[in-house]
């Protein structure tokens, strides 16, 4: 008797057995349904987080080097030392631009928060991005109207700004943004350009930003005239060389004596990615544990009900054996029955998780890719097979004479 025959027959038997015990099967399946919903929601949250992160990282640009006083993710002690370092300035950035052979663009950036107002309207907590004329290229931004900061805007620290689409919608719903005068922390700025809409990611909204010359920023908005020097390099393959050259240049500019440690840090996205991987990994591990736990509990339920089912059908097993069913046949029959319950539960679980994912997606990134559906179904079948094995094995090994005698 071939396996395909056997499987088909087993599916029919399983189906009729489950139909006879609808209520019982449903209740047993509940544990697995909950488990699968957890698996899927977990997975879709992680999947969503991943795509979101990729998008964010792509926005930063893989080929940017950030020269800053602090190293990203260096821990507390180095940070304390770094606080006393000399700040980086726009002049340093200009020097780097002049001396570097690997850079295609060098900019200086600083960031802050401010209140933007126009006539009676006001927006608080707006991201103030202090940039230079190169920053649009470096940050991969494009404009939907007007122009970006010019070199002379930066040079003379002019009170001009480029604003994000969210602010435009707020203040200029009927157009006419470019050329208007708005106020940033009660200081007048002229709008010279409007950024293209980007859409929010990770809870921050890049459309809610105002870009001003970095020189204006360091003069008016902060007591620490410290900037990040952003170096966009020509070719990602030359990253290491570029970094080495940059280091040399900075040591020279900042007059770091030979043998002394750098008084700056060169950051790059790698650090961010590996940091994210660590966090993502631990989220996944915790999620996996919780999920595993709920599936385990569900699996015990399946095992229990399969033992009951085997005991109830001892006579049937005896009959089948007398007529020529082999151990394998009986084993497969009960494994299929257990797997049918869990597969059904898996499908139901997915049907429940799907709309939940859509709802979650409104608040944070979540998606249910095909591979996740595949994994959820595979996991549910596997749970059935694993937890059904012991009962099925007991059935398979039954002595036909004993089994036939049972009531």
């Amino acid at each position: 008797m071939n396996l395909l025959h056997e499987l088909k027959e087993s599916v029919l038997i399983a189906w009729s057995a489950l139909r006879t015990n609808k209520m019982r099967s449903m209740l047993t399946a509940l544990g697995i349904i909950i488990g699968i919903v957890t698996v899927t929601l977990m997975g879709s949250a992680i999947a969503g987080l991943n795509t979101e992160f990729r998008r964010m990282v792509a926005g930063i640009g893989a080929d940017n080097l950030y020269v800053q006083r602090f190293a990203w993710f260096a821990g507390e002690e180095p940070w304390r030392q770094a606080r006393n370092r000399r700040e980086l300035t726009l002049r340093d950035a200009r020097e780097v631009e002049r001396l570097s052979s690997f850079a295609v663009a060098v900019g200086a950036e600083a960031n802050g928060n401010g209140t933007v107002s126009y006539q009676r309207k006001q927006a608080k907590g707006v991201w103030v991005a202090a940039n230079t004329e190169n920053s649009a290229t470096i940050r991969g931004l494009s404009l939907s109207a007007g122009r970006w900061l010019s070199e002379s805007d930066v040079q003379s620290a002019r009170p001009v700004c480029v604003i994000g689409s969210y602010l435009v919608e707020r203040f200029f719903p009927y157009g006419g943004a470019v050329g208007s005068r708005i106020k940033l922390n009660d200081m007048p700025f002229e709008v010279i350009g409007v950024l293209e809409k980007q859409g929010s990611s990770f809870g921050n909204n890049p459309d809610d930003q105002i870009v001003i010359p970095v020189t204006r920023f360091t003069r008016e908005f902060t007591r620490w005239p410290d900037v990040s020097i952003v170096v966009k390099i020509r070719n990602l393959q030359e990253l290491d060389d570029a970094k080495e050259e940059l280091r040399g240049i900075l040591r020279k500019i900042r007059r770091v004596a030979p043998g002394e440690k750098d008084d700056f840090a060169i950051n790059q996205q790698d650090a961010l990615i590996s940091f994210f991987n660590v966090i993502g990994g631990s989220i996944a591990a915790v999620g996996l544990f919780i999920t595993g736990l709920s599936l385990f509990v569900g699996g015990i339920g399946i095992m229990n009900i399969m033992f009951v089912s085997v005991a109830e059908r001892t006579r049937e097993i005896g009959i089948r054996k007398a007529i020529g069913a082999k151990r394998r046949t009986i084993l497969v029959q009960f494994l299929v029955e257990a797997a049918t319950i869990t597969l059904g539960a898996g499908i139901l679980g997915l049907l429940i998780a799907w709309p939940i994912t859509l709802v979650i997606d409104h608040y944070m990134a979540a998606s249910m890719p095909w591979w996740l559906v595949g994994i959820a179904l595979a996991v549910s079948v596997l749970t059935g097979v694993v937890s059904g094995f012991l009962p099925a094995w007991r059935a398979a090994r039954m002595d036909p004479v004993e089994a036939l005698r049972s009531e």
Binding site: S16, E316, R320, A322, G324, P400
Partner: protein, 240 residues
Amino acid sequence: MSLIQIHDLTRRYVMGTETVHALRGVSLSIERGEYLAIMGPSGSGKSTLMNLLGCLDTPSSGYYELNGVNVAHMDDNSLAEIRNREIGFVFQSFNLLPRSDSLHNVELPLIYSGVSASERREKAMQALVNVGLGERTHHKPNELSGGQRQRVAIARALVNNPSIVLADEPTGNLDSRTGEEILGLFETLSRRGNTIIVVTHEEDVAQHARRIIRIRDGLVAADEINPNPRAALRMQEAVK
């Protein structure tokens, strides 16, 4: 060559410190086409012998050759195959699958021997017609009378063309008239060349067979030819 050849077959049941000797050394040979009754009082070992003959159980010692093959010490799976091919069982309590209709019950042995669906259907149908149940193919066991259930069981026993039909008290759960019907069916099968072994403790039932083996206390007490077997009352509707 005999169909069945057993020599000094024993079967012991060990229960804790006690050992029950259900069979103490039975030797027999049974030819193809025989209609044989195994008689004996309750507890004499008839069912034990039948389980051994039907390869449902293995002997504690002794020799059993079925169709030229020594089956005394085969493993579970090989025995299952032998049961499927060589043996058709008829039980006192019918032992049909309660949730399946007659047709599916009769198809079962064919499913386990891997016969294709269409051939299976055809053969099972024919077997049901042969026992006079051509009209009852989609009835479940609880929609059939006792006699009809037993006929479904007989159709199932015959569908794979086994070497032997083994019946343990086949009339035990039936009234005498219906029992006669079933015995009539056996008679017809026997005339067509089937080998039939009926286990019973009723003299009336045994008298239908052409050879009677009497068991007492796990031993063969007598092995006699029945010179004039009783003809079953032929029920017209029983066999078509």
